[in-house]
């Protein structure tokens, strides 16, 4: 595993290009993109639909590989890892929060939160302790045995956040975490993310369409036509 120069930053995206092949057509989603995220930052990533926000998030999270350029997280060259090593790396370093929560409907809240811990060497009692702590952090300690279908959207997203933080990952990646919620529930989720950032020092990258959500972040960057800027394009 090669190590990139980190310069104190947690995330380094250097000269990244991402091209998708659709039939004979090549679609350039990201072009020569650079991004640095310091440790402990809460970064909001905004942009119109199809601008490449989720693609960038996938590259940082090791779910996809860049066509060109490098992605380094905490010194690890993510773009160079094999599939197997990438899976291990994701389990240790990344917590994902999805727009549609993506919980397993057949598992209770505690079983959903326990999923990432199944990949560790923790025993059952230790896993249970971690799960309880994570669910208490998101305010759902009393709903451990409940199935997702019996919970509101806001509660499901909180379970999703508990699942993302239960392994104490290096980086939280949130793909429109309030996109499917009403304003009140959305605010609760944003409160939770802000608390995780400020009180627990979690580095967060959040993709959002919502200026109200991005206002909670310590910095906002804008993506348009595969390019990043510090200001929204008019």
């Amino acid at each position: 595993m090669s190590t990139a120069a980190t310069n104190g930053a947690l995330v380094h995206v250097d000269n990244v290009e991402k091209v998708f092949q659709r039939g004979s057509e090549q679609i350039h989603v990201l072009s020569d993109l650079n991004l640095t995220v310091p440790k402990g930052e809460f970064l909001a990533l905004m942009g119109p639909s199809g601008s490449g926000k989720s693609t960038l998030l996938n590259l940082i999270g090791g779910l996809d590989r860049p066509t060109k350029g490098t992605v380094s997280i905490a010194g690890d060259r993510v773009d160079e890892l094999s599939d197997r090593k990438l899976a291990d790396w994701r389990a240790r370093h990344i917590g994902f929060v999805f727009q549609l929560y993506n919980l397993m409907p057949v598992l209770t809240a505690e079983r959903n939160v326990e999923l990432p811990l199944l990949l560790t060497h923790l025993n059952k009692a230790q896993r249970r302790k971690h799960v309880e702590t994570a669910l208490q952090v998101v305010g759902l300690g009393h709903r451990m045995k409940h199935y997702p279908r019996t919970m509101s959207g806001g509660e499901q997203q909180r379970v999703g956040i508990a699942r993302a933080i239960v392994t104490d990952p290096t980086l939280l990646l949130c793909d429109e975490p309030t996109g499917d919620l009403d304003r009140k529930s959305g605010d609760e989720i944003l409160d939770l993310l802000t608390a995780l950032n400020r009180e627990h020092g979690k580095t967060i990258i959040m993709v959002t369409h919502d200026p109200h959500a991005s206002a909670r972040a310590s910095r906002t960057v804008y993506l348009n036509k595969g390019q990043l800027s510090d200001k929204p394009l008019l």
Binding site: D64, A87, I94, F96, F98, M104, L115, L118, L119
Partner: protein
């Protein structure tokens, strides 16, 4: 083990679909068990055959009788240790559905030829001295609640007594047991009584059982016996006891082929049903599998989950099916005497278990490979 709740939960996802698939596997394995029991019942004599025993019958057909005088000539052939004869009686008790094996034998010769048959000494003596005496297997005695001293009337459509009556009444003097499972379901009566009382075919018997001194020489002695009776009015065909039993069973047809054909069709159908269920199930939760991969589960782990799921389904269904088949066949012969050896051998349970594992792997492997090939980013877009 820690992944078991996850695998189990997926089976409960679509309860009705899982239940119907499970039910079809259960039914297939019940059928498998019952067919194995029928096959065992029809061909079971083959497995009980002794290597040092030969059967001598008429060369043209088993229904043609042989002279009783052949016995002494056979005994004189070097290497023959003993000879005894039996004759198909073909009767029933009270009702035609109460059918079981009946045959006249010379008691001393029969017991010497069949050491697996045991009974108390006083009962043996009673049989040797009672002209109308008969012995029955313990299972048969239990079934019809016969006790020593019972009078047993048997109607034989083949054999009439000299007065034209087809009803033969025997005095039950002994109840035997056999070390061979299912071989205690016959009624054996004295040949001298039969010979004296029967109206026709006097001096004729159905077939002979020969015990040879050296099993290694059985084939050679069989040829010698057939040569002995060449060009006589009743030429013989001598074969090992196993081959005779096989020939007897083959009168029904090629049982192994029939069983294999039915089971092949059933399991092929089950393969399609279960395979379709698994494919559908994996297709429906492509997004969830993508989430698992995003959380850090490797491709191999996802493959293992899908395979474990299909194996669990197949083994659960097969286990239930084999258990029910075992319970059904353990009740014994459902035909009232036509299939005395009706039971499911333990060997077939193992074969059933092996089929279940194969079914689980074959039905799970293709969906598992699809799950493995699933790209995380693509899978998450499907949600």
């Amino acid at each position: 083990m820690k992944f078991l709740p996850l695998i189990w939960s997926n089976l409960k996802r679509r309860k009705l679909r899982s239940a119907l698939t499970l039910l079809s596997i259960v039914v297939a394995f019940i059928l498998f068990g019952v067919l194995c029991a029928i096959k065992h019942a029809l061909a079971g004599g083959v497995s009980y055959a002794k290597a040092n025993r030969l059967i001598v019958r008429d060369k043209v057909s088993i229904i043609n009788l042989l002279p009783e005088t052949y016995k002494e000539r056979m005994k004189r052939i070097p290497g023959v240790a003993a000879a005894s004869h039996q004759t198909w009686f073909g009767g029933h008790y009270q009702d035609q559905k109460n059918f079981f094996m009946q045959t006249p034998v010379v008691p001393e010769e029969f017991l010497e030829m069949n050491p697996e048959v045991t009974m108390p000494e006083d009962q043996k003596k009673a049989w040797f001295t009672t002209r109308t005496g008969a012995i029955v297997g313990k299972s048969l005695a239990d079934k019809y609640h016969w006790k020593i001293g019972s009078k047993i009337p048997i109607q034989s459509p083949i054999w009439a007594k000299q007065d034209g009556d087809h009803t033969w009444e025997f005095d039950l003097v002994g109840i035997y047991e056999s070390s061979l499972k299912g071989a205690d379901q016959a009624l054996l009566f004295r040949y001298d009584y039969f010979e004296e009382a029967r109206q026709v075919a006097k001096g004729k018997v159905g077939w002979y059982t020969i015990r040879v001194q050296d099993a290694q020489r059985a084939a050679e002695i069989a040829k010698q016996i057939d040569r002995e009776f060449e060009n006589s009015s009743s030429e013989t065909k001598t074969e090992p006891e196993g081959a005779f039993a096989q020939g007897w069973a083959s009168q029904v047809g090629n049982i192994a082929l029939i069983t294999a054909s039915i089971m092949g069709a059933v399991f092929f159908t089950i393969l399609l049903v279960t395979g379709n269920t698994m494919s559908q199930s994996v297709r429906e939760r492509a997004g969830e599998l993508g989430v698992l991969k995003a959380l850090g589960f490797t491709n191999n782990q996802v493959v293992t989950f899908v395979l474990a799921e299909s194996l669990l389904m197949a083994c659960l269904g097969a286990g239930l099916g084999l258990l029910l088949a075992w319970a059904l066949t353990a009740r014994g012969d459902p035909t009232g005497g036509m299939l005395p050896l009706f039971s499911m051998p333990a060997r077939d349970l193992l074969i059933g278990a092996a089929i279940a594992v194969a079914l689980g792997i074959v039905t799970g492997i293709f969906p598992a490979m699809n799950a493995m090939r699933l790209r995380v980013a693509d899978a998450l877009r499907r949600i």
